[in-house]
């Protein structure tokens, strides 16, 4: 024994404890979370099966990246809500509907290409701000039940908007039903001028994997902006009010106001998210399409490691990549192995199981 194992450092440190290796591993697992670990292992197994059965791994990875970029901002949209203390925003369809209206108005005006994208986003944001404000007002009146209220409000809005799509005076013949001449079609094709604008921007190939650079860059930029926002005075106020409303009140912050601000932000991001989603997907889906869109987004965030009361950008990115990769890889792999499609079943089990799990652990680490 050359060294004394109990050497005390000169620094005055009280919280610095050394832990044995086994505890360190246990803590590490606890930190990552068992569900996240299982899902990760599941993904690895899927990928391994894909390699063994000689599937086209490169195209699987390409699809995973495309789907991650496509859904990323919708997942990111949940972050301000969690940080603002209104929980998981199951009312995401509210913002999504605003985004869809933006898309359709821009299309109806006959704008194409980049101007379409800019116009669609601009209109979406302008619509989403008052909608988010009203939604936030409602959430303040129904404190403690935000997630339930959000879910049903989302359902109600999507159904209400179905009437709007049918009745609104859109005239562009490429959008309305061919027979009858009014009422929007259920799916609007963006093929040609606007399809995959960002996906194709600066895209390149490595080892056969096509990287949808533009969409990923926009996702990254959105993440960075949200990250910076939470370092501003307003952003800090929002997360402080979530973390401890009474502390915030003592600092002169009104948590009723910060909750509304967080809700506006989540709604605006959802609106932008659906525009990005649509350009990447190549279609604008109307009517009941947004009905269940909040659920996969919420599952992504939770798989990333977020809880009902705490979420970070890492949770957004990791969760989106994990969940979307599983969705992409599971379908071809399982159909290869079991001669049938269980991917939809797997998706529903993972997605809803994850949401259920998170709700049971509510406030665990608050």
């Amino acid at each position: 024994m050359a060294e004394t194992p109990t050497a005390v450092t000169a620094r005055d440190v009280s919280g610095d404890e050394r832990v044995p290796f086994s505890t360190a591993i246990r803590e590490w697992v606890a930190e990552i979370g068992i569900p996240r670990l299982l899902i990760f292992i599941f993904l690895v197994v899927l990928l391994a099966t894909a390699v063994i059965t000689r599937m086209d791994l490169a195209s699987l990875l390409t699809d995973s990246l495309v789907r991650a970029g496509r859904n990323g901002i919708l997942v990111l949209a949940l972050l301000p809500a969690v940080q603002g203390g209104v929980g998981l925003n199951f009312g995401l369809p509210l913002g999504i509907v605003c985004g869809l209206v933006g898309c359709v108005i821009a299309l109806n005006g006959g704008v194409v290409g980049w101007p379409w994208l800019v116009a669609a986003m601009g209109i979406s944001v302008v619509l989403a701000i008052p909608v988010g404000w009203a939604y936030g007002w409602l959430l303040n009146r129904t404190r403690g039940q935000e997630m339930m209220v959000g879910t049903y409000l989302g359902f109600a809005i999507v159904s209400g908007m179905s009437i709007f799509w049918l009745a609104a005076p859109f005239t562009n013949p490429t959008l309305v039903w061919a027979i009858g001449g009014h009422g929007l079609r259920t799916t609007l094709t963006l093929s040609g001028a606007f399809d995959k604008l960002l996906d194709h921007l600066w895209s390149f190939q490595v080892f056969g994997v096509t990287v949808p650079t533009g969409t990923l860059v926009v996702f990254a930029a959105a993440c960075a902006l949200v990250g910076i926002f939470f370092r501003t005075r307003l952003g800090i106020a929002i997360s402080a009010a979530r973390s401890n409303p009474r502390f915030a009140r003592a600092a002169g912050i009104s948590d009723a106001r910060t909750r509304v601000q967080a809700t506006v932000l989540t709604t605006v991001l959802a609106a932008i998210g659906i525009v990005i989603f649509s350009q990447s997907y190549g279609f604008v889906q109307l009517y009941t399409a947004p009905l269940l869109m909040a659920f996969p987004a919420v599952a992504c965030l939770l798989i990333g490691g977020a809880s009902v009361t705490r979420a970070t950008l890492t949770h957004v990115v990791v969760g989106t990549l994990l969940f979307q990769s599983i969705l992409t890889v599971a379908l071809p792999v399982t159909s290869q192995v079991v001669q049938g499609d269980i991917s939809e079943t797997a998706r529903l089990i993972i997605q809803n199981g994850m949401i259920l799990y998170a709700l049971t652990r509510r406030g665990d680490k608050a």
């Binding site: 910076i228 370092r231 005075r233 800090i236 009474r246 502390f247 009140r249 600092a251």
Partner: protein, 532 residues
């Protein structure tokens, strides 16, 4: 040994290494009233929790010693067990269902029943409630406590005094009750109601029940008690015979303890100049606190203490001034009116507050030390931010926050691994220093500190107190220190205001006698009020 209803033998209890009960013994004889008196934090509630088998006790490692009920050693697993064994409790907060009638509340879950068609098939659980007998039983119980209200009136809307008596009636109605515990029952009652209650207690004792009476009101103690036990710092300091003692003597025993630090004497500087804070007729609506009409002056550069028993309003004063609870009244800060009910206005007028509720209001446990220190200044004053055109979107200046946190950590001697450490990981004393640092980051000239040493271990207490003295001396801060521990107020304050029933009862010098403080706290210092 005569037959006793209850005997506590050497009860000891530790919370996380903090000894709150150090071998308490007391005996309750049947047919007598035993009064248990003591300051806040003397260990009365812990003792009751032990007696009632509350979960907190078990979860924190149980207790030592024995609880002997009618000659048998008992160890209750839950309050339910205690009630089964014949202990009744009259709570400070009412445990009544507002929508139910008085009789229903009294008989709840113990209703007399009669068979019904359903019960013949499905068993006893489905028997009908016998409303007539229910009402009759309730009537008897209500008469025993001297309450003449209709037993079928709904509880909602009754005056609080009545609710208190219904609580008692419920306990009295229980057939097997041997011991009744009254936990500060007169706190919410009017003078006449209190007198009536004392008579009821006497009558109940006359029927052979043992009564344990916990109270702050010493005159009541002398009036009804047969035995008196005085608890202080988890120890029995005296067991007295009410016939051979006085209110003054009990008061001395309750508060009297050697001051932790010798007082430095009133300083000259604290006397001159305009007051830092003038408070006129302040009333604050804060749950469990009673601030009705408080008027005082905080002189520039002085340390003014606020003492008083729990619920009498001492905590409410600072919370009201800071705008954390709805307040009315007239407050001048440096001669200018201060807007009430607006925390931001209070902060901007260079008033700062360290809350008594450290975990609830004082800290963001899962944020870093540096952010905790800077946050209020960021939000209320826009400090620690990069310049930018749009006020709300100015970016946090991380370097400034870090540098300031390091300075504070050094100045206040916060023991931590660094400014990034989460505040949850710090000890109570260091969390309190973070709270002080946060208040200091606002660069206040007047600081209000409530319960500065609550939940802090002994060594750290002294450091926090020294810090307060240092802030006052070196930075010329005026301080309003509210505390349940009289000894610490006496150690740091220039003057001490004693609050009783929502008003300032007296302002005493720190070296006034224990008896004076005791009397002022129980509202009996009618003469010789020294507005020193």
């Amino acid at each position: 040994m005569a037959n006793l209803v209850l005997e506590l033998k050497n009860i000891a209890k530790e919370y996380y290494g903090n000894r709150v009960l150090k071998g308490v013994s007391l005996q309750v004889r049947p047919g007598t009233i035993h009064a248990l008196v003591g300051e806040n934090g003397a260990g009365k509630s812990t003792l009751m929790n032990v007696l009632f088998g509350m979960g907190v006790i078990r979860d924190t490692g149980g207790y030592q010693g024995d609880v002997v009920l009618e000659g048998k050693v008992v160890r209750f697993g839950s309050p339910d067990d205690a009630m089964q064994a014949g202990i009744g409790m009259v709570h400070q907060e009412f445990m009544l269902i507002p929508g139910f009638a008085v009789a229903e509340n009294i008989k709840l879950n113990r209703e007399p029943t009669k068979p019904s068609i359903l019960s013949r098939v499905f068993g006893k659980k489905l028997e009908l409630v016998d409303r007539d007998r229910c009402g009759a039983d309730a009537r008897i119980a209500l008469d025993r406590v001297g309450l003449s209200i209709d037993e079928w009136a709904p509880v909602a809307g009754l005056p609080v005094g009545h609710m208190q008596f219904i609580e008692i009636a419920r306990e009295v109605d229980k057939q097997n009750v041997r011991l009744l515990i009254f936990d500060e029952p007169t706190a919410v009652l009017t003078e006449t109601e209190a007198t009536q209650l004392l008579q009821v207690m006497k009558a109940l004792a006359g029927k052979g029940l043992g009564i344990l009476f916990i109270t702050h009101r010493l005159d009541e103690v002398l009036e009804v008690a047969d035995d008196i036990t005085v608890l202080r710092d988890g120890e029995v300091v005296a067991q007295l015979d009410p016939k051979r003692t006085t209110v003054v003597h009990i008061a001395e025993l309750m508060v009297g303890r050697p001051a932790a630090v010798a007082h430095s004497g009133v300083r000259e500087g604290a006397k001159a100049g305009t007051p830092a804070l003038e408070v006129r007729d302040l009333a604050v609506r804060m749950p469990g606190e009673r601030v009705e009409s408080v008027s005082f002056e905080l002189r520039k550069g002085e340390i003014l203490g606020v003492a008083g028993l729990a619920g009498h309003g001492k905590i409410g004063i600072a919370n009201g001034l800071m705008g954390l609870f709805p307040a009315t009244g007239k407050v001048l800060k440096d001669g200018r009116p201060l807007a009430l009910n607006d925390p931001r206005a209070a902060i901007q007028s260079r008033l700062a507050f360290v809350s008594e509720d450290r975990r609830g209001v004082g800290i963001l446990p899962d944020e870093s030390i540096e952010l905790n220190i800077a946050l209020t200044a960021i939000e209320a004053q826009g400090r620690f931010l990069h310049p930018g055109p749009l006020e709300p979107f100015r970016l946090l200046n991380g370097r400034l926050v870090r540098r300031h946190a390091r300075e504070m950590i050094r100045a206040l001697d916060i023991r931590c691994t660094g400014p990034k450490q989460h505040v949850r990981r710090l000890s109570g004393g260091n969390q309190q220093k973070v709270c002080l640092a946060r208040a200091m980051a606002l660069e206040p000239d007047t600081l209000m500190v409530s319960e500065p040493t609550r939940g802090i271990d002994v060594g750290a207490k002294e450091r926090v107190l020294e810090l307060l003295r240092q802030l006052n001396r070196d930075r010329g801060l005026s301080l309003l220190v509210t505390s349940s521990e009289l000894a610490e107020l006496r150690a740091v304050c220039d003057r001490i205001a004693v609050v009783y029933r929502g008003k300032i009862e007296a302002i005493l010098a720190p070296d006034a006698s224990d008896a004076d403080f005791g009397l002022a706290m129980s509202g009996e210092l009618h003469s010789g009020v020294s507005h020193g």
